[in-house]
Symmetry: C2
Subunit: 305 residues, 2 copies
């Protein structure tokens, strides 16, 4: 099944309708559908931008310190100034956090290299970064469905640039991989590098259960160090470890699951048309999903599923 962030037509709490969606552009709060950006934005012309997605509720953001730290790392990774960018992000959060109410919301923040005449090389000393943020209802229904059915995945050759370790908007490779998955009757794609090593899904980290332990590819390879991945590694270190994994390790896996902010622990039940083990989300996957949900509830005071 396909995780549609616009899902959740009726909330799991029984309410109908969705929370309004908001955006912050240039430090101003506007309804999401009214948000605009200048045609000269370097994020639009050159994919010169980085982003974060975080989960919020009751005015709080889950693991925001980690997202903020990674945002700084991504900004530095593509050579953008961090100071003005972070000030803009703080301003956006001030405006959006009061809108995080009784239902889980997704915060999206994108920082670009600024706006100016189209030229690969920005002027020196540089343009002011631009900050865009949106706040939308968390796709609860889609997560519930994914948790129940599991994800059908295909394996694909890594078609991204070599700096996928930074969370930039150079995402067309992931888009094409996800389209290829849909064309194959699947939901998502798992990237495999030229040496046959497993990397990650198109927008989630990957975990392979072997001998009762979940192993996830280490970040020395071309993959994004996920916040959800880091929390799992830290808080469930009895059950999860980093490892060098190859595509062939999928074949005799006891379980496979993926994890991201919008998909905090979801089983992968079919890969390239073949079931993983018995084709159902496995016990370790279910256990870690429950644990993660409890951490979310403790920190933002809301159940996400």
């Amino acid at each position: 099944m396909h995780l549609d962030p616009e899902g959740d037509p009726a909330g799991m709490d029984g309410s109908s309708g969705t929370e309004p969606s908001w955006a912050v552009v240039d430090g101003t709060l506007v309804p999401l559908e009214e948000a605009r950006l200048p045609l000269g934005d370097r994020g639009f012309f050159f994919a010169e931008s980085v982003y974060e997605v975080a989960l919020g509720g009751r005015g709080a953001l889950f693991a925001w310190d980690r997202h903020r730290t990674r945002l700084v790392r991504s900004l530095r990774g593509i050579g953008l100034d961090t100071g003005p960018a972070l000030a803009g992000v703080e301003r956006a959060l001030q405006l959006l956090q009061p809108r995080m109410g009784q239902r889980p919301m997704l915060l999206y923040v994108q920082v670009t290299g600024g706006s100016g005449p189209r030229d690969h090389l920005p002027p020196a000393p540089g343009l002011a970064p631009r900050v865009y943020a949106t706040l939308r209802p968390f796709p609860t229904a889609a997560l519930v469905e994914a948790r129940g059915q599991g994800i059908r995945a295909i394996t694909v050759a890594d078609n991204r640039w070599p700096l996928a370790t930074f969370k930039t908007t150079q995402l067309l490779g992931s888009v094409l991989a996800k389209r290829a998955a849909r064309a194959a009757g699947a939901d998502d794609a798992l990237f495999v590098d030229a040496s046959g090593h497993l990397l990650e899904a198109t927008s989630a980290n990957l975990f392979v259960v072997r001998e009762g332990r979940a192993l996830t590819p280490h970040t020395g390879r071309n993959l994004l160090p996920g916040v959800t991945r880091a929390i799992l590694l830290e808080r469930a270190r009895d059950l999860i470890a980093e490892a060098d994994l190859r595509e062939r390790d999928l074949r005799d896996a006891q379980e496979v699951f993926m994890a991201s902010t919008t998909r905090p622990v979801v089983g992968v039940t079919r890969i390239d048309g073949r079931p993983v083990a018995d084709g159902q989300p496995g016990p370790l996957t279910r256990e870690l999903a429950l644990r993660f949900d409890s951490w979310l509830e403790a920190e933002i005071g809301l159940r996400v599923v």
Copy 2:
């Protein structure tokens, strides 16, 4: 020296000031600085967009058929529908061509996967593509300067995605390479792939003169098939051919030059700090630049330099 597309403060025809710059958004003509796009554009979120840059004057576009053909190829390459995209491009051209007057102008056209809620996977059957176009004065002064002094280049490892053959806005690798060039006191970077093969510059094709002939990397490798490159290969086939070139072929080159729409034949005079031959644009480079300028003048009725 750095090719600033905003250059040309005084026209080479002696006029002062610049032509006004225009944009077309959603089929409507607006001054460039007023052009906006929706925050939900997939070109902004995912770099899901392709583009073309063409040279115009006196209401005519140079080699537009080739640019249009390549645009179709790029659209197909990333799985976007061509019909509505081309209709939008035609509409933009109708609005902009009357603004191509007595001085050379640069047309920029960008087609995106449309606008919608942020989700890697677009809805099926798909969003309507969005077309953006701008018309700005051609950077004549910058070209004249580059032709006179030549380009100082560095070599860098190819840091792009494997589909650089399509003209998409996944350009952050080129931006970073150009920034690295500036940091090294140079103007541009030449991409070298993992096997040591020469590819192209950050936004121009590359030519290496050996034994009196210009050789340019063939398009089987990860590079963009340039329109200027194709025209040179076709009309100067006595002097230019495709070849497999390695980084080491730069060392004993008689001349090196690059070619693109904004840089139609410009000498590369220093590479990684060492002069190419005598460090001046060579005779074949100058000869081909003159030829190209004459073709431009014949087709758009204007001298660009």
